[in-house]
Amino acid sequence: MLRFALKRLLSLAATLWVASLIIFLSLEIVPGDPAAFMLGMNAQEDTLNALREELGLNQGPLQRYLGWVGGMLVGDFGTSYTYRTPVAEMILERVQVSLPLALYALTLSTVIAFPAGIWAASRRGRAADVTVMGLTQLGVAIPNFWFAMLMVLVFAINLRWFNAGGFAGWDAGFFPAMKSLTLPAIALALPQASILARVMRSSLLDTLSEDFIRTARAKGLTRAQALWRHALRNALIPVLTIIGLQFAFLLAGAIIIENVFFLPGLGRLVFQAISARDLIVVESVVMLLVFAVVLVNFVVDLAYAAVDPRLRGQK
């Protein structure tokens, strides 16, 4: 298990290094001067130069790359060109919105998908199965931002149960903060839950037709007992994979939902930073997201090994 983990860690480090190169190079190519954006149309050449000098934009690309990577290794993400605050602080503030939102959405999605998937699988071909399959088809098909707007219309504008958006902040207390994340979390969770339920169902059905289930049934277990004791654990591998992918997606891919609900999350930060050519922020946040994705995959790999002992010996 330890060797397996070490090997995985090594490939994690290599992935991060390659990612840092790709991120830096691709942003180098993007046209647009951050200083010119800051100072606008009436800026004079000497003013632009003064700002570029202060931001370190007059240095060569290699020097800036090394400065950036070197800083990150010791936990210094640099200083934002536009906000002029340390990027690490900005990220920390935004993570307080994005991470709980992702976890909230993932929890909702799992809580909905597991029972739905198991229920559908255990009643294959019957009304329950057809209903779940139909609803999940709809859930996958509906774009989540449209669903989000619909919820705002109903619950914020008409019923006034929720605010149309914004984040109350953790200072306001746990429940007000969670309340402001509820509609976004539902909007994010709906398509995820639909996918997950479908994967859960088909994976369970596959497992249920395996020989060992037949053996278990032959030994006298009921269908339900066989499902809960033997099939479920074996069916979890693809489900775990999907959950891992979904978490990464929820953390990095909530930009549109963050915009619809004007939440100050990571996605919105990247969005703003790109339009302002605040390259250091874009680079650092994207790097952090890559790190999160890689880390989640690492954890999922370890989870595979925990669920399926056979995987520990291989590779």
Binding site: D33, R84, A164, G165, N259, F262
Partner: protein, 491 residues
Amino acid sequence: MNFRKIGTAAALTALLAGAAQARDEVIVGLQLEPPHLDPTSAAAGAIDSVLYANVFEGLTRFMSDGSITPGLAESWDISEDGLVYTFKLRSGVTFHDGTTLDAGDVKFSLDRARAEDSQNAQKALFADIDTVEVVDPQTVRVTLSQPNGSFLFNMAWGDAVIVAPESIDGIKQTPIGTGAFKFSDWVQGDRIELVKNPDYWGDPAKLESATFKFISDPTAAFAAVMAEDVHVFSAFPAPENLPQFEADPRFQVLVGSTEGETILSTNNKMPPFDNVKVRQALAHAIDRQAIIDGAMFGYGTPIGTHFAPHNPDYVDLTEMSAYDPEKSKALLAEAGFPDGFTTTLKLPPPSYARRGGEIIAAQLREVGIQTEITNLEWPQWLEEVFRGKDFGLTIVSHTEPADINIYARPDYYFQYDNPAFQELMTTLNNTTEPDERSELLQQAQRMISEDYVNGYLFQLAALSVANVKVQGLWANAPTQATDLTGVYWQD
């Protein structure tokens, strides 16, 4: 029985408290968040939208009609030759950190803005200042190197507000000014909070606190207003939703004017636009009202020159470039392009440009001019079009007040090089007599209109939505400000 009474009383108290609370705070929605909070070192209008007049003040200040009124300077004397301005400062003005405003702060602010390493986005405003001297704590003398008729006007800009040397280091995060509101908190990506300054030198603010909330998505902005999450939305981004607000008794829609001349900028040095006949043909090919209706849902005033229609010196020259496709085709034929030509049309992100661009492209096609449309982000636009001058046509709104003098800069991106105009602007700068200035400004408007420098489209409208009970808001936007000093809740 008693319980019910207590319950009712409690509910009533809660209701009254809620109502009382709602009456002295206001939540203002804005589309763009400031990058930082120093108005003297960035071009971002969003900084002024939050801080101008509320937190920071200058020697003079803009009123909602675009005129100038004394700000931190109570009065001033101008020498005969127009070179020496002696400002008398108000007494008893303190910054929000408790320090007193004196002539030294004014000297510091002006010297900082015009210094070699200055990061002021509008450094040109200070270019004519030769020296700034402290006469006594309440008096400051500014000597210009040449007369500048718009100097008092320049001092009203957000880029010329007075800051203190004691608080300058933290100004980007903690702005310390002299205004009726103090900065309280900034949750980045979400909101900025201001509170009333109890020690304000002038009329105190009627609100106890004000919150600016940043909502970039137009649909989200609409939802936030409808759900009454915000009480005011300044510069509302979706004009198509305004009729819905107008029909709703809960809201008022404020339609005012801005300093934004929206123009079809033309590269005057690039063939075939170096031929005035081609530029004239371009002007006659454009149906302004169709653009205003199609791109701005009817909000906007047609213009025929680079000047704001609400300005008393404005001359209506729209007839010079009236919509006349036949004339346009004839002019093109005269210029040697009977079959038209192909050019580029590079569009920045605002909807006036993106939507307007499609309409203009269709109108130009009618007279035979084909355009290749490219959509650009702002940083790209600045680099390619504005600095690189690599464009045929582009659409942009010039939002700086009284900026007709950009036509005197031959290296400015549309590259209009007319010595007669440049001389006119020099004369204007040397003139302080109001009537003469007025005459010169009108001449200038005519000159650029007759030269068809750019396609003049419309003056951008200032569109705001507010709760019907919020009073004292500016309808106009002479500068990008949301002046809350006079705002209050009507009973």
